[in-house]
Amino acid sequence: MLTKRIIPCLDIKNGRTVKGINFKQLRDAGDPVELAKRYADMGADELVFLDISATLEERNTTLEMVLKVAEHINIPFTVGGGISSIEDVDRLLKSGADKVSVNSSAIKNPELINALSNKFGKQCITVAIDAKEIDGEWIVHLAGGSIPTKLNMFDWAKEVESRGAGEILFTSMNNDGTKSGFANSALAKLSQSLNIPIIASGGAGTIQHFVAAFTLGQADAALAASVFHFNEITIPDLKRELQNKGIPMRL
């Protein structure tokens, strides 16, 4: 049976992981390779690297990092952040990334999704959607959730699927950073109206939140950052507990 995926997300700047990461066992908590390896050993199903670099120079360092991760890690990983062209994707895939995630550039230029999907295959094109519920309507946001667009999230998700996205990474800005659980009703609606996998993101605080994302939210995968980085939830505990709740896991 296809299992549900648990995905730690690492923020990357200048080829290094950022945000405090509290793994005492690590010699260098800023080393993405060491951290990625540790997550892979713990049973993470995939990894997402989100590049928050601001300069071209920093981005080139990220490419070198991707190459090193691919050399040492034997599970799939996605790279997102600042990707806006076929050339960007080509460079990342050639450096060994398995998938790329596009966000703002797809909103500004939806044709990009078609172009990427046709050139590289839908299996490696994830579209990330940041959305916020405002007066009962889910509105897509740009630039890490700070700028609202006119797009309804469900309409945009449908369009993204029809343009050839292979999966959707949905982050609820209402839930992100709150540790109060995932946006399960919106997740369920997305999952029912689309036929591609949905990754839930934003709001993970407890193991029960993951259970709800997979049951109520019908998510195919769940992504989290700080609960893993700060050891608040360990991946083996999480996966065992999800399995006990009847959610198929790779153990």
């Binding site: 049976m1 296809l2 299992t3 549900k4 995926r5 892979a40 199903d45 995939e46 190459l67 691919a70 050399e71 040492h72 034997n74 599970i75 799939p76 895939l93 050639k94 450096s95 060994g96 990334a97 398995d98 046709n118 590289f120 295959g121 839908k122 299996q123 490696c124 292979g166 999966e167 036929n195 591609i196 996998p197 195919d220 995968a221 790779r250």
Partner: protein, 194 residues
């Protein structure tokens, strides 16, 4: 050992090269027929769309070379699918090594299948030291119909052939290079095949 990865422009093959490097083997990327013919082991990878991948093979005449190979050949993902008779993806013929068709998953399930699923009914030396129901990583929208050459099955939408073998030709739908230690074991097994 002389291991080559056929480089015909279909997808990300860096990960495969790295997977062999982790096993201490320097696999060479090549599209040169002479280099492929003399290799001890041949990896036939591929991601992307079947009919365009087939066109790329024809352009480089690799479609004529591959079926004549005598050493162990491992088709991975789309590589495996192209070794079948035909594919519904772009309605293309395949290389006809595996006597089966490649079809699209129904919309009862999410497509592509993306993630870790189990392999069962394991029937080949390729799976030495790999247990029934081991997990492998898969990403695909099309599947090979089971036949007598099936050496592993996986369930998604239906039971399909997740690995096939005919003489020296092996094919796996999953990505051993991305399937953790179990995937590495499969690659190790492939390297020891005669």
């Amino acid at each position: 050992m002389n291991v080559v990865i056929i480089d015909y422009g279909a997808g990300n093959i860096k990960s495969l090269q790295f997977a062999f490097k982790r096993l201490g083997v320097a696999a060479k990327l090549t599209s040169i027929p002479e280099e492929i013919s003399v290799a001890d082991k041949v990896i036939f990878p591929g991601v992307g769309e079947a009919s365009s991948a087939m066109e790329m093979l024809k352009k480089s005449k690799l479609d004529l070379l591959i079926p004549t190979l005598k050493q162990p050949v491992l088709g991975i993902c789309l590589g495996m699918q192209l070794l079948c008779n035909s594919s519904e993806e772009g309605s293309t013929n395949g290389l006809g090594i595996f006597n089966t068709e490649v079809k699209q998953f129904s919309t009862v399930v999410k497509v592509p299948q993306m993630g870790w699923n189990t392999i069962t009914n394991l029937k080949s030396g390729l799976f030495k030291n790999i247990k029934e129901d081991a997990f492998m990583y898969l990403v695909h929208s099309f599947y090979a119909v089971t036949n007598a050459q099936t050496i592993a099955t996986t369930h998604y939408d239906l039971d399909y052939a997740s690995a096939l073998q005919h003489n020296n030709f092996y094919g796996v739908q999953f990505h051993p290079e991305k399937s953790g230690e179990i995937g590495a074991q499969l690659l190790r097994n492939f390297l020891t095949l005669e």
